[in-house]
């Protein structure tokens, strides 16, 4: 059984397949068009017209490339058309066709070129498939790929930064890494790392210091710092933010806006640099139009491209990485500096101990300070003559001259009232100027050449520490850092204070000692007879030469005194010690022996009496002494020695020691040993020389050698002129460096 109405399916299919070719062309499920080689459309199907909303009349005669978007038109010229000419066909070209309403129809295009017998192009046949969904999908894929690439680029930036920061050992290293990497990563025109000096939460405005800057003018950084002003702490807390060159900025911060405009910047991005909760500073990135010589920016001039959130995240990360690296580097540097400071103080202590005198000490300390601690070190001392500049050193020998110029004009006493050194002296405490700006410079200097000289030193920070002991202000040490050095830390200031304490103690001791020394010399000078009394038949000469080392005074003495009865009393001696007590003892001794000798002109008896009454005299020191009496008429000479070196006799070109046997020193523990007296004659033309041990000990530690040498020299120098003899003896026996005083007494009998 079959249905008579039923159409045979194969017949139906045949009927369907017997398509009208025209219909097949017009209503094919694809756009179909034919153009001349120059693109003019000569035939187009209905499908394409329907897709584009254009009528065939519209399309015929117009150029296919004019239907494309601008980008598509360029692609047509540079790729599609050349390919067609060269390989005769193109496949799967993605182009956007503009609909009548202006919207775009994403298509895929295939085309073939028909050529004549001569190979010249005659016609181009093209088919277009709508590819909206497919192109959207591709675009999404592409966008995802781009995003992945950007994300990868970001993590590469972070990785590189972390890697580079690990190798950084100084703040400058950290700054250079972070500035270069972030600048490259953000394609910024310039970048700078600006750090807070001191504490960020300082109630006073913390100072800002650009550590490293690239592609940013100093002027811009200065304006930015000024603009941040007192709101700095707030600024730092605000996270990544932008300062855009726009109307409001031009109104509120005209200088900053001008600085941005002149360097072609459109935006400054401020990134906090922090470690944990500590805000250490900011990273500044400058965005702007592309620099001349580079490619034209796709961003319209003056138009601002908002920073995407992903980049802000990146900047945050860079800021935190920089902060942590800074903390680590600072910790490391602080450890190194602590070790350096300890070594510095140790060396300073050694230097202070070795110094010959105060001048030597401060000079060498100043040199040490500029080698280790500061760029400039100046030491002023308060003396009777007022405040004197004892040392002023600059680390850089080339700039020493600038420092000298700055200091030469004025002594501290006539410096400007705001000079930190003066304030330190006045207030008796350390003065620490962290940031020497124009106003501070004006306060600490006098107007004119001096200020300009000081300005040339580019001071960044100054620390003045008073030298004080028990409330007495002895002077002031001033240290300064210039703009090329890291700022002083609290630890540096502590070192300066410890140094000042050391110096103060030495200066104090030296000043006391100098006072005592001066007193001793005055006393000694008053005790020694200036000129021996003139005695007929005798020529006398005396010399007193002080030691060259130290500021000590000796207890050496000589004496020539006319005794009752025409005799002459002679004495040479040496009180133990080199101080005011030694000088005083010498004076006391002289009164006593003169009195005894006047009563009984016997040198040995004199020694016996002095030994016997030593404890009663209340003399604190022991002494060696040689006493004698001389009859100028007969030449009779008597000599006795209490532990003293033998007298020297020069006669007719020969020299010899008188064989006077010395007994114990004056004041030495008693011994059963009576004083001996030598008696003889001082012949006419002979010279008697009495001296203290300084004469023979000066060149050699071995006293016997010294005595031998004295004989040699005396023999050669033997003369009837005692003054000439004294001079020759001193010239040849006493060197330039004398550890001890020398007393010399010479008598020639004529």
């Amino acid at each position: 059984m079959s249905d008579p109405d039923a159409v045979d399916p194969s017949v139906q299919l045949d009927r369907l397949l017997e398509d009208d070719p025209a219909d097949l062309y017009e209503n094919a499920p694809m756009g179909y068009l034919s153009t001349l080689p120059d693109g003019r459309i000569v035939k187009v199907n209905r499908t394409f017209c329907a897709w584009t909303g254009r009528s065939p009349e519209d399309l015929i005669g117009s150029r296919f490339q004019d239907l494309l978007s601008v980008g598509g038109r360029v692609f047509h010229e540079t790729h599609l058309m050349p390919l067609l000419r060269m390989q005769g066909a193109v496949r799967e070209i993605a182009i956007d066709v503009q609909r009548l309403d202006g919207s775009l129809l994403p298509c895929l295009l295939n085309a073939v070129e028909l050529r004549g017998a001569d190979g010249a192009p005659q016609l181009v046949r093209a088919t277009l498939f709508e590819a909206t969904a497919r192109r959207r999908y591709e675009r999404e894929l592409l966008a995802a790929q781009r995003q992945a690439e950007e994300s990868e680029a970001r993590s590469r930036t972070v990785q590189r930064v972390v890697f580079d920061l690990a190798a950084a050992t100084t703040e400058e290293d950290v700054a250079s890494v972070i500035v270069q990497r972030s600048r490259a990563g953000m394609k910024a025109r310039g970048a700078a790392l600006v750090l807070v000096q001191g504490k960020a939460d300082d109630p006073e405005l913390p100072a800002l210091r650009p550590v490293h800057a690239e592609g940013l003018s100093r002027e811009l950084l200065r304006r930015l710092r000024e603009a941040a002003g007192s709101r700095l702490a707030l600024e730092l807390a605000q996270g990544v933010r932008s300062i855009v060159l726009e109307e409001r900025l031009r109104r509120d911060q005209p200088e900053l806006a001008a600085a941005m405009a002149t360097t072609g910047l459109t935006e400054l991005v401020i990134v906090p640099v922090s470690a944990d909760s500590k805000r250490l500073g900011v990273l500044v990135l400058a965005l702007g139009d592309a620099a001349p010589g580079q490619l034209i920016s796709l961003v319209e001039p003056g138009e601002r491209r908002a920073i995407p959130a992903s980049e802000i995240d990146l900047l945050y990360t860079l800021g935190r990485q920089a902060g942590q690296a800074l903390e680590r580097v600072r910790l490391h540097q602080e450890t190194v500096r602590q070790a350096e400071r300890a070594a510095f103080l140790l060396e300073a202590a050694r230097l202070v101990a070795d110094a010959v005198d105060v001048q030597d000490m401060v000079t060498r300390l100043a040199e040490l300070a500029v080698a280790r601690l500061a760029d400039i070190c100046v030491i002023d001392l308060v003396t009777e003559k007022g405040t004197t500049r004892e040392a002023a050193r600059h680390r850089d020998p080339a700039r020493q001259e600038v420092l000298d110029r700055a200091r030469s004009a004025q002594q501290l006493t006539v410096q400007a009232g705001g000079h930190p050194g003066l304030r330190a002296l006045r207030e008796g405490r350390t003065q620490w100027t962290r940031d020497v700006d124009d106003s501070r410079l004006a306060a600490m200097t006098l107007e004119g050449a001096q200020r300009e000289s000081v300005r040339a030193l580019e001071l960044a920070a100054v620390v003045s520490v008073p030298l004080a002991i028990e409330g007495r202000r002895l002077g002031v040490i001033t240290l300064a850092a210039d703009r090329h050095r890291a700022p002083f830390t609290a630890a540096d200031v502590e070192v300066a204070e410890q140094l000042a304490l050391q110096v103060a103690q030495v200066v104090d001791k030296a000043q006391r000692f100098e006072l005592e020394s001066q007193t001793s010399h005055t006393l000694q000078e008053s005790l020694l007879p200036t000129d021996p009394p003139p005695v007929p038949g005798l020529r006398t000469a005396v010399r007193y030469v002080a030691a060259t080392q130290g500021v000590s005074v000796g207890g050496d003495f000589y004496d020539v005194v006319a005794l009752p009865g025409g005799l002459l009393g002679l004495a040479v001696g040496d009180v133990v010690g080199h101080d005011i007590t030694a000088a005083a003892t010498m004076g006391q001794l002289r009164s006593v022996y003169r009195a005894y000798l006047a009563g009984q002109p016997s040198p040995s008896a004199l020694i016996e009496r002095l030994q016997g009454s030593w404890s009663l005299l209340g003399v604190q020191r022991m002494a060696t002494a040689l006493f004698g009496t001389l009859d100028p008429v007969s030449g009779e000479l008597r000599v006795a020695s209490a532990g003293h070196l033998p007298p020297l006799l020069c006669s007719n070109g020969t020299a010899s020691f008188l064989p006077v046997r010395p007994t114990r020193m004056l004041g030495a523990p008693p011994a059963d040993e009576p004083a001996e007296e030598w008696a003889g004659e001082l012949r006419a033309g002979s010279t008697l020389v009495l001296y203290t041990d300084g004469l023979v000990e000066s060149r050699s530690a071995d006293i016997d050698e010294g005595l031998d040498r004295l004989l040699e020299v005396a023999a050669r120098a033997c003369s009837a002129d005692p003054d000439a003899l004294c001079d020759r003896l001193l010239a040849e026996m006493a060197g330039e460096h004398r550890p001890d005083d020398i007393a010399l007494l010479a008598l020639t009998r004529v």
Partner: protein
């Protein structure tokens, strides 16, 4: 021959003693762009063709984004090629962006070049104040997008073959759109360098006879731009072609050859 020849796939033909003609292709395809024009000069000239690094069958491994981040990098290569081949009194025929490469190459080594032929030149594509380049920044952004949609048969799988791994000629033969095929990253950067350069200031330095060929209805280098180049290059000659579009050496090779020859014969 040195690495320069391999790097840029330099091909020479014609009469070795003839005045050298160096044809330089622009952004898009490769040296085959000159296939209908170059042969016309082989009988009396030394003809030199090459591919820019990153295009055609050049050595892609020589592509250095830093160097080719500006037209100067391409100009350096032109100078290198001329020196390598020992050319003198060169006539440089540069199409589109290669016209500007030629100007830069001349500035680098003026002694090498005897004449310039600039086909569809444009010293700056982006409008700037009174200057009309024909494109806005938005247009260029659209172009870069259009390029991203067309990788012309480039795929990661095929890359080794395309890059000259010659042991699979069967694969190479199958490749479509081969003349204009470039690695996507390189194509994108080349497009940026082409359309975002500004060489207006360099034109005044050209001091050899210069021919400017200006097409009709050129969407890339409009009439106004050709006239601008003509005004800026002292003593230059501007010839308007009947050929439409931007690539007269393909769309009207006879007219193009004739114009060049007329210039050379003068």
């Amino acid at each position: 021959m040195g690495s320069v020849v391999t790097r840029n796939r330099v091909c020479t033909s014609g009469v070795p003693s003839g005045r050298p003609l160096v044809f330089v292709h622009g952004f898009g395809c490769d040296q085959t762009m000159w296939r209908f024009v170059a042969p016309a000069f082989e009988r009396d000239h030394r003809v030199v063709l090459f591919d820019h690094v990153g295009s055609g069958r050049s050595d892609l491994s020589a592509y250095d984004p830093e160097k080719y981040g500006s037209l100067e990098g391409y100009a350096d290569d032109i100078v290198e090629i001329c020196r390598e081949l020992g050319l003198r009194d060169v006539v440089l025929v540069g199409h589109s962006v290669a016209a500007m490469m030629g100007v830069l190459a001349f500035r680098r080594a003026p002694d090498l070049f005897g004449a310039l032929v600039l086909v569809g030149p444009s010293p700056r594509y982006v409008d700037d104040g009174d200057y009309v380049g024909g494109f806005s920044r938005t247009d260029i952004a659209g172009l870069l997008d259009a390029l991203d949609s067309n990788h012309l048969g480039w795929s990661a799988e095929m890359a080794p073959v395309i890059m000259g791994n010659a042991d699979r000629p069967d694969l190479a033969a199958e490749l479509t759109n081969s003349f204009c095929r470039t690695a996507p990253d390189i194509a994108r950067q080349f497009a940026r360098v082409t359309f975002l350069s500004d060489n207006r200031a360099d034109l005044a330095d050209v001091s050899v006879p210069t021919l400017i060929l200006q097409c009709t209805d050129d969407a890339i280098a409009p009439d106004a731009v050709g006239e601008y180049v003509h005004r800026q290059i002292p003593g230059s000659e501007l010839v308007r072609l009947a050929a439409t579009g931007h690539v007269p050496q393909l769309s009207a090779p006879e007219e193009t050859s004739a114009a060049i020859r007329a210039f050379l014969d003068r």
